[in-house]
C-alpha cells in the first residue's frame, strides 16, 4: 500500500488505518459519528494527500482546458476555481475535478486519487495542437482539508491573517508556516472550509500546527469514514460510485457544470442529444423509512416490490438526520414516485425519494 507524507501523524494519533484504493489511510480516529459532528459544528482536519495534482501551462491553456472539460474556465477570474467533469465522446465521465485558474496561461487541477494516472494520460491524449505543457505533480504535494464553521478562525490563527475576504471557490497562493502553499476555499463536506495544497515534506508540520491551534476550539482529526458521511449528506458525487465512465453528467444531476453553449468540448454532441431526448434515469436521493442502510449496487424497486426501477450508488447512515440516506439512479418514469423500496439482503425495505442535498449548511447572514 502507498503511504501519504502524513502517515506517521495518523499512526501517532491512533488512526484506524485501512487500505483505501491502494493507499494506507485512516477510516477514523475517535469515531465516524463524532468526527462528522465535529465538522458540522466546529471543525475537522483530513489528510487528502492521495489526491492528484496536475498543472496545465502555456499560451493555449485556457482553450485546451475548455476543450477537455464540460464547464467553462473563461468565466473565471485569476484566483478562482470551478468544479467540473470531463467526458468521453460518448458522454461517459472520465473524472470529476476542480480546476484552479492562476491566470489564463496557468492552471492547477486536482483530480481523484484513483484516477490520477488515467486522467494524466487522458490530458496527454487530448493535447492535439494546443500549445500546453502538462505536468503530473502529485508526488510533490500533500493536501490537508480543514473543514467546518470554525475552519476560517483556525486558519486565521495559524497564518496570522484574516480569510474572511477569500470567497467560496477562490484561492490564494501564499506561504503557510514559511513554505509556499495554495490555500483554497473549497471542500467536500458541505461546510465552509479550506483545502491546503502543500509541499509534500511540509504536511506534518502544518497538520500538527493546525491541531495545536484548533484543538482548544474543538478541532478533531477526521478519517475517510466521516469524509464519506459528510459528502453524502451534502449530495456530492463520488467517482466510482455515483459517477463513472458509464454515466453522463446530465443523468447524474451535474447539468450545472455542463456548458453546452461552449463552441466545442469533448462529449458535447452526445450530451446535446441526451438533453434533447431527455435522460432515461436520474441520480436521486432516497431516505429510508426503516433503520437499515442501502449500499452500493443494492436494487431499487417500486413500493410494492414488483418492478425493478433502479440501483443504489452510495448509501450510509446520515449522522445529522439519524436516518439512512442514499443516492440511486432511478428510471425517469419513476422519479416522482412517492414511495419506493430497496432490496436489502433479500427483503424489501420502504424508502422515499427525496430532494437533494440531504443537508445544506446555514448561510451566514
Amino acid at each position: 500500500m502507498k503511504k501519504t507524507p502524513l502517515y506517521q501523524v495518523h499512526v501517532d494519533a491512533g488512526g484506524k488505518l485501512v487500505d483505501f484504493g491502494g493507499w494506507n489511510l485512516p477510516v477514523q480516529y475517535s469515531g465516524i459519528q463524532a468526527e462528522h459532528q465535529a465538522v458540522r459544528t466546529r471543525a475537522g482536519i483530513f489528510d487528502v494527500s492521495h489526491m492528484g495534482e496536475v498543472t496545465v501551462e502555456g499560451p493555449d491553456a485556457e482553450a485546451y482546458i475548455n476543450q477537455v472539460i464540460t464547464n467553462d474556465v473563461t468565466r473565471l477570474v485569476d484566483g478562482q476555481a470551478l468544479y467540473t467533469v470531463m467526458c468521453r465522446e460518448d458522454g461517459g465521465i472520465v473524472d470529476d475535478l476542480i480546476v484552479y485558474k492562476r491566470d489564463r496561461e496557468r492552471f492547477f487541477i486536482c483530480v481523484n486519487a484513483a484516477n490520477t494516472a488515467k486522467d494524466f494520460a487522458w490530458f496527454q491524449e487530448n493535447r492535439g495542437q494546443f500549445r500546453v505543457e502538462l505536468k503530473n505533480l502529485s508526488d510533490q504535494y500533500c493536501q490537508i482539508a480543514l473543514q467546518g464553521p470554525l475552519a476560517s478562525e483556525i486558519l486565521a490563527k495559524l497564518c496570522q491573517q484574516d480569510f474572511s475576504k477569500l470567497g467560496y471557490f477562490h484561492f490564494l497562493e501564499m506561504p503557510v508556516l514559511g513554505k509556499p502553499a495554495l490555500v483554497a476555499r473549497t471542500g467536500y463536506t458541505g461546510e465552509d472550509g479550506f483545502e491546503l495544497y502543500l509541499p509534500a515534506d511540509h504536511g506534518t508540520r502544518v497538520w500538527n500546527a493546525l491541531m495545536e491551534v484548533g484543538k482548544p476550539l474543538g478541532l478533531l482529526p477526521c478519517g475517510l469514514g466521516a469524509r464519506d458521511t459528510l459528502r453524502l449528506e451534502a449530495s456530492l458525487a463520488l467517482y466510482g460510485n455515483d459517477i463513472t465512465d458509464e454515466t453522463n453528467p446530465l443523468e447524474a444531476g451535474l447539468g450545472w457544470v455542463v456548458k453546452l453553449q461552449k463552441p466545442a468540448f469533448n462529449g458535447k454532441a452526445k450530451l446535446e442529444s441526451v438533453k434533447a431526448a431527455g435522460v432515461k434515469r436520474k441520480l436521486s436521493g432516497i431516505r429510508m423509512l426503516e433503520r437499515v442502510i442501502p449500499r452500493h449496487d443494492y436494487e431499487v424497486f417500486t413500493a410494492d416490490g414488483t418492478k425493478r426501477i433502479g440501483k443504489v450508488t452510495s448509501g450510509t447512515l446520515s449522522p445529522t438526520l439519524d436516518f439512512p440516506i442514499a443516492m440511486a439512479y432511478i428510471d425517469s418514469q419513476h422519479t416522482s414516485d412517492a414511495r419506493i423500496s430497496v432490496k436489502i439482503r433479500d427483503k424489501f425495505y420502504p424508502g422515499e425519494i427525496t430532494k437533494m442535498p440531504f443537508y445544506r449548511r446555514k448561510k451566514e447572514v
Binding site: V27, G31, I32, G225, D228, I293, L317, R345
Partner: protein, 129 residues
C-alpha cells in the same frame, strides 16, 4: 486480554460467541467483531420462534462502513431476542459479551457445541489474523 476472550464462552470462526446454560445457548458477537465493524448503528434480529440450523444466517449487524451477517453456531429454536439492541445498538460495541447478547436458542442438537472453539483456540485464531 481475558476480558476480550471470556473463558466461560464458546466461539466460532465468524466471531460469534455462545454461552451454554443447560439446553439454552445465548449468542452474541465478540469484541473482535465489534471492533472491526466500528460504531454499530443497526442490528437485524430474528423473530422469537424461528427455527435455526447451525450455519444459518439469523440476522445482520451494521455499522456505517460495513454490514456483517450473523451466523448461528447451533441448531435450535429462538426463544428470546434482545429487544434493547434496536434502540441501543452501540451497546454491542461497549458490552459485547454481556448486556449486548442477541438471541437465546433452545438447543436442538447439543452435539453442535463440539465444533465450537474454546477461548484459547479463538484467541489463537484472532491473533493470527
Amino acid at each position: 486480554m481475558d476480558a476480550k476472550f471470556p473463558a466461560d464462552l464458546l466461539y466460532t470462526k465468524d466471531h460469534e460467541w455462545a454461552k451454554v446454560q443447560g439446553t439454552t445457548a445465548t449468542i452474541g458477537i465478540t469484541h473482535h467483531a465489534q471492533d472491526a465493524l466500528g460504531e454499530i448503528v443497526f442490528v437485524d434480529l430474528p423473530e422469537v420462534g424461528r427455527q435455526l440450523k447451525k450455519g444459518d444466517t439469523f440476522g445482520a449487524v451494521e455499522s456505517i462502513k460495513a454490514v456483517s451477517d450473523l451466523y448461528s453456531p447451533v441448531s435450535g429454536k429462538v426463544v428470546q431476542v434482545n429487544k434493547d439492541l434496536s434502540s441501543e445498538p452501540g451497546r454491542i460495541n461497549s458490552d459485547p459479551y454481556d448486556s449486548a447478547w442477541m438471541v437465546k436458542v433452545e438447543l436442538a442438537n447439543p452435539s453442535d457445541l463440539k465444533d465450537l472453539l474454546d477461548a484459547k483456540a479463538y484467541k489463537g485464531l484472532v491473533d493470527s489474523l
